[in-house]
Subunit: 478 residues, 2 copies
C-alpha cells in the first residue's frame, strides 16, 4: 500500500493530495465515488488528521472533490455543469450479477490479512511459508529446461500431469483411475465451482455437512441451490440422514469432506463411509468428496478415502496440492466419469481457456520425482508439532475456557468456548491486539465455536497469539 | 491418445479389450454409457473393424458390455439383477447447469485439432509455436531464482506485475492508470467472464459487434443477457447505432474490439472512437474494449486504443499476453474503477482463489526487462510475412473466388467467398484433406464468409493449405 515518503521535501499533505489526484484523474475513483473520511484515511496512512484535512482542502480548491455535510467527501464530476457527460453509475453495476459477493465478514478478515502486516494469523487455512517446498520448486524451475508448449493447453489439463496423478493416487490413496477421468483444475475451489455451475440446476436441493467449509462459500447460493444440512458428531455425518433428506427434499448431490474435515478435523469411520456409499448407490445420487487433507495424517496412516471404497462410481473426487504443498501453485484435480469430465472441461475452457502450462509442468516434476511424497513426510511432523504447541498454549493459558477434539490431521483446531461470549466482539478485540481467527458461525455452526489454524502462524507465534486471544477475551470486557 | 502396441505379443484385439475393461472398471465409462460403434473405434485406433468386433465380443463374454440392435453397445450394470445399486444418471447431470456448453460446431473444431495430428490449422486464433518467445521464457525460468511466495496471491494479482503494466501501458499504448485499477486475469476470456457474471443482470440488454468473436462465446447466453448486434463496415461499427439500440432496448453495456477486430481485422478510425466515447458518456454506459491485437500493428504504429482517448472513464479495458507472446502463460489484465476491480477480484477469489504465482512472476520479468517489446518487433515482421504468404496463395490458387480487406494487424484474414457454397460442407471436405478453418457464421455474420488464421499454420504450410482448401471446394462437388 502507498504511504507518504517522510524523507521527501514535498510536504506530506501535498504528497497525499498528489496521490489522490493521480488516482482520481486515472479513473480509479470516478466522479461520485465517496472517499474515506479524514479520520479513516489518517489512520490508514498513519498521519495526523489535520494533514488529511489539508490534503482534501487542496483537492477541493482544484475542484476535484466536493464535500457536504452528511454526504462526506465525493469526487466531483468535471462536466456536471454542461449536464451532458456522464460516467456510468458504477455502483449499480457492481451490485448486479448472478454471482454473489463473499460474506462481508469473510471479506473483512481477508482485508485485514492483506493490509495489516504482522498479524498472528489463526484464520487462514493455508500453510506457513516455512512449510512450503520453496527450495525444491526453485530448484526444479532452475535446473529443468522448460520445453513445454506455450500454446493453449489440453482442456482437461496437462497429459503428463494426469498420468503422474494416476500412479500417485493409486500408490498413496488406493484410488484407481485413468488419465481420461481426470480434470486438472486450479484447486478444489475451481473443481467445486465447475460442479455447481455445470451439473446442477437452480432450485436443486443439495446436502452439505454442518458445520462445513462449504457453508462459507457464497458459490452455493450463487448457483441458486437449496442447501440442506447434515448434522455431524465427532465422527462426521450420520449417513442415514442422507436418506432422510432425500425423502423430504429429493436432494440431488451430497458434499462431504470425510477425512480431517474442515473445520472440525473429524474423520468419518470406514463403516460410515461404506454406509454412505451404499445409500448413494441405492438412491443413485453423486457424492462429492472434498479430499484435501487425507495425506496430512500425522501418524503416517491416511484413513481410506470414499473414492477408494467406491465400487459403483458414485463419487466425484476433488483433490489438490494447496494444503499439502503450495496454495500458490494453484493445482488441483477432479476425478469423474468421462462424460462429466468433458462437460466440465468444455465449460472451463469457456470461462478461462484453461490453466497455465508452467505450474502444471512444475507440479508434474514435483509429484513424479517423489518430492511431494518427501514433503508430506516433513509436513506431517511439522504440523503435529504446531498442533501440539497450540494445544499446550490453550491448556496453559486458557485452561477450561476452551475444549476441542484432538485432530489427527489437517490444519485446524475446532474449539468450543465454554462460556458466554460474542465471538465477533472477541475477534474485534483480538484483531486490535494483532491476532485473527474465524468464528464458527462462518461455517454454519451454532454460536460458541471458533476455528484456529495451527498451520498458518509460525511456530513461535502460536503461544504469544494464544496470550493475546486470552487477553482480548478477559480484558475486552466481553 | 492410447494406441495398441503393434510390437507386443498380446494380440491387438486383446489389448483393446484390456484397455476398455480398465476404463470401464475405473469408472470412466459408467454403466449405461454408449460405446463408439465398431466402425468408429476401428478408424480412431487405425485397426481393422474385425479386430474391434473381436474385442467387443470378448467384453460381452465377460458381461461388461451388452449390445442390442438399434441401441449399439453399452456398458452393462453389474448390479442390475439385484435392482438395488445404481450409478447416478450422469447424462441428466451433465445436461444441467446455468452454464451452457460450447456451440457443437466449435467443440467439433476443437476435437479435430486435439485428436488429429498434422492438420493445417487456419482455425485457431493463436500463434504458431515458432512465434512464441520459448527461448526467453526458458531462460528466465532457469536464470532467475524464484523467491516469490507460494501462498495465495493478492486477489487482484501480483503487485509487481501490476506496477510493471502501469509503465508498459503508458509507454506503449498511452494508457494512464494505477496499479490499484488493474486486475490480473488469466486472459481476456476470464476478464469477459467476470464482467458478464458480476456487472450485469440476467435479462439485461447488451450490444456486440456483428460479426464478432463474442458471438462465438456461449458465456453471453449463459449469463442470460439479451444480445443486440451493431452492424459493421470496413471501419468497424457506426457509433450512432449505439444510440439507436439504447433508445430501443436500453442497452447497459457495449462490447467492442476496435483495433484489428476479430474476425474482420478492421480498425475503427479515431473519429469513430471519439464519437463512440461521446455517446457512451452521454448515455452513462460502459464500453468494454477488448484490446488484444493493437500492438501487433505490422507497420509499427499501433492505432490509438479507446482507453487512451477515454476522458470520462467509460471504458473497461481488457488486454492480454495471449496474442502477442504466449497463450499458454494465461496472463491478461483488466483496467476499471476501483469499485469494479474489488467486486471482480472478490468474485474471482470465490471461483478459483486467484492465479498461480509462477506465470505472473515470469510475465513480470518478461515485460519489465523489455523482452515483450523486443518480441513484438519480431512478431510484427513474422505476422506480416505470413499474411502476405496467405494473400499470395489465395490470389494464385483461388483468384477471384475469394476477396478480403487487407488487415494491418492481428492474426486473421476475413474472406468473402464469391460464389454459392455451403461453408460447413466445405469445411467437412477440407478436414478430410487435412485443413481446417472457421466458417463466418460462427461469429454471427451472414453466410458466405470464412475466417483464416495466418498466425497459426507454419509459413511453409500456408500455400499447401490453400491448395487443399481449393481442392476441397472444387472437387468436393460443392
Amino acid at each position: 500500500m502507498w504511504k507518504p515518503d517522510r524523507s521527501s521535501k514535498t510536504p506530506i499533505y501535498q504528497q497525499i493530495a498528489d496521490y489522490m489526484e493521480h488516482r482520481i484523474v486515472f479513473g480509479e475513483f470516478p466522479p461520485g465515488t465517496m472517499l474515506p473520511s479524514e479520520r479513516k484515511l489518517a489512520s490508514v496512512l498513519r498521519v495526523n488528521r489535520s494533514t488529511v484535512v489539508a490534503a482534501y482542502e487542496e483537492l477541493r480548491a482544484t475542484g476535484l472533490l466536493v464535500s457536504s455535510k452528511g454526504n462526506g467527501t465525493i469526487v466531483s464530476n468535471p462536466n456536471e455543469e454542461s449536464g451532458v457527460n456522464q460516467t456510468p453509475n458504477w455502483k449499480e453495476y457492481v451490485e448486479a450479477g448472478n454471482f454473489l459477493p463473499n460474506q462481508p465478514f469473510v471479506r473483512r478478515i481477508r482485508e485485514e490479512l492483506l493490509h495489516k502486516k504482522g498479524l498472528i494469523d489463526f484464520a487462514s487455512g493455508q500453510l506457513s511459508p516455512d512449510l512450503y517446498p520453496q527450495e525444491t520448486i526453485r530448484e526444479l524451475l532452475q535446473k529443468r529446461p522448460f520445453y513445454e508448449q506455450l500454446g493453449y493447453d489440453n482442456p482437461q489439463g496437462c497429459a503428463q500431469l494426469r498420468e503422474t496423478l494416476v500412479s500417485f493416487l493409486a500408490q498413496h490413496l488406493h484410488i484407481h483411475t485413468t488419465d481420461s477421468s481426470i480434470l486438472i483444475s486450479s484447486g478444489s475451489q475451481q473443481s467445486l465451482y465447475l460442479i455447481l455451475q455445470c451439473l446442477l440446476n437452480p432450485g436443486d436441493a443439495v446436502a452439505i455437512e454442518d458445520p462445513s467449509y462449504c457453508y462459507s462459500l457464497p458459490m452455493f447460493q450463487s448457483a441458486g441451490l437449496r442447501l440442506f444440512r447434515l448434522p455431524s458428531d465427532e465422527h462426521g455425518i450420520n449417513p442415514e440422514e442422507v436418506m432422510t433428506l432425500y425423502r423430504k427434499h429429493k436432494i440431488r448431490m451430497v458434499f462431504v469432506n470425510p477425512n480431517f474435515q474442515n473445520p472440525t478435523g473429524s474423520v468419518m469411520p470406514t463403516e460410515r463411509k461404506m454406509r454412505l456409499l451404499e445409500i448413494a448407490s441405492e438412491l443413485g445420487i453423486p457424492i462429492v468428496e472434498d479430499d484435501t487433507f487425507t495425506l496430512t495424517a500425522f501418524d503416517g496412516h491416511p484413513p481410506p478415502t470414499l473414492k477408494s471404497l467406491d465400487k459403483n462410481n458414485n463419487v466425484l473426487y476433488i483433490g489438490s496440492l494447496s494444503k499439502t504443498a503450495s496454495s500458490g501453485l494453484r493445482i488441483g484435480w477432479l476425478i469423474a466419469p468421462q462424460s462429466v469430465i468433458s462437460r466440465l472441461a468444455d465449460a472451463r475452457a469457456q470461462m478461462d481457456f484453461g490453466l497455465s502450462s508452467i505450474p502444471q509442468w512444475v507440479a508434474n516434476l514435483f509429484i513424479k520425482e517423489g518430492h511431494l511424497e518427501k514433503h508430506i513426510h516433513f509436513l506431517r511432523k511439522e504440523l503435529a508439532k504446531k498442533r501440539n504447541e497450540l494445544m499446550r498454549g490453550l491448556t496453559e493459558i486458557m485452561g477450561d475456557m476452551i475444549s476441542y477434539a484432538i485432530p489427527e490431521g489437517g490444519l485446524t483446531l475446532w474449539c468450543r468456548i465454554n462460556r458466554e461470549v460474542d465471538e465477533f466482539k472477541w475477534l474485534e478485540e483480538a484483531t486490535k491486539r494483532g491476532v485473527i481467527f474465524v468464528p464458527g458461525t462462518v461455517y454454519g455452526s451454532n454460536k460458541g465455536w471458533i476455528r484456529l489454524s495451527f498451520a498458518r502462524p509460525h511456530f513461535n507465534e502460536i503461544v504469544p497469539g494464544v496470550q493475546q486471544l486470552h487477553a482480548a477475551l478477559e480484558m475486552g470486557g466481553l
